[in-house]
Subunit: 208 residues, 2 copies
């Protein structure tokens, strides 16, 4: 039976939310999540690629991996997605901060066993991680599909936390004569690097 | 007593390492970690700012936060730092991948109680998160220092995992006529945004 995680906000509750559309928006903007689970009271936090598909989080990994073995055995997990949006320069150390958006999803993941459900899930993953790419790829063989586990976690018990906007200094600090503001941060793609074994005459696709 | 986390590499061992200087290099490049801990068998994975200071990870948070309360009670934790370096476009779904560097640090954190040690730790945090900023800031009051907990976790039991380089396709896929390569990704700063209450005549500092 799934236990309920404690998703009450202990502090800074004005930064918290349990709004499903907002959770989806944050999840759809990321490609990397951090998956937490505990074995013998030792937590592990593992970075993984993911996609949201309807009201599910999809995570795939090698059948042989520690994460897949443990999660598919029915362990409670927590999957967190964080966007690091900016450094907040206040006038004091104490009020200096970061802007971010994060979602924590709690629950028990299920391994997708049904071949058709798995194929659809893998497609959703590729569509999220590399939009436009799927039609071009060589389809997965049965052997490849069998070597990969696809886990699904319902987005039911979750918790959002965000900070946005300018620094919030004490009134008494406002005349401290230093710059204050926000340096926005985002993940930027660089110039694509061709594979060394790229076939001659193949140009970069538009979706890059 | 600290139990030992299982840091053996279950698979893709060629991507794994336990090299301390490499761990430091990866840790020094990031500003956000994901802290995992379990309460009543429910894992929580919380994004936090951090700094490496010598052979310690420093994490600070409100005295009232769930994370600080639990970690300072001597719970095992796992702190993971991940850099998401690129999308790897292979010719097959199965070999499509991501480039990344990650470090997982395992252990029990200690709350820094000594005022001088705490002041030095907070300085190390500010120097890492906002280099060049510390001298300009209004110093923390005792009240502010007391409202903040500073946790320290030794970088002793840790595990590095990285993927770099081009796609690794099956030989039989190399003539599949699609583009293959890597799209590098990095965190980019945008144009700084002045605080609405910025004093007139203050220009942006060089360290931005």
């Amino acid at each position: 039976m799934t236990k309920k995680a404690d998703t009450k906000f202990k502090r800074a509750a004005e930064r918290g939310s349990h709004d499903f559309p907002l959770a989806c928006k944050i999840l759809d903007t990321g490609k990397i999540c951090h998956v937490g689970f505990s074995v013998d009271e030792q937590p592990y936090v593992v970075p993984m690629a993911y996609a949201r598909f309807e009201n599910q989080l999809l995570i795939h990994g090698s059948v042989a991996s520690r994460l897949v073995k443990n999660l598919s055995s029915g362990l409670q997990c927590c999957v967190t997605v964080t966007h690091y949006d900016g450094l907040v320069y206040a006038r004091s150390t104490f009020h200096s901060s970061m802007n971010y958006r994060s979602v924590m999803v709690f629950g028990v993941a299920r391994t997708i066993e049904d071949t058709e459900e798995k194929r659809v899930g893998v497609q959703a993953l590729v569509d999220h991680l590399m939009p436009g790419r799927r039609e071009e790829l060589r389809q997965s063989s049965s052997q490849e599909l069998n070597a990969t586990s696809l886990l699904t976690l319902p987005i039911e018990t979750f918790s959002i936390k965000c900070r946005t906007g300018p620094p919030e200094d004490l009134k008494s600090d406002l005349d401290h004569p230093v710059w204050a503001g926000v340096v926005p941060l985002s993940v930027c793609p660089g110039e694509p690097v061709d594979a060394p074994d790229l076939l001659p005459g193949i140009s970069r696709p538009d979706y890059l």
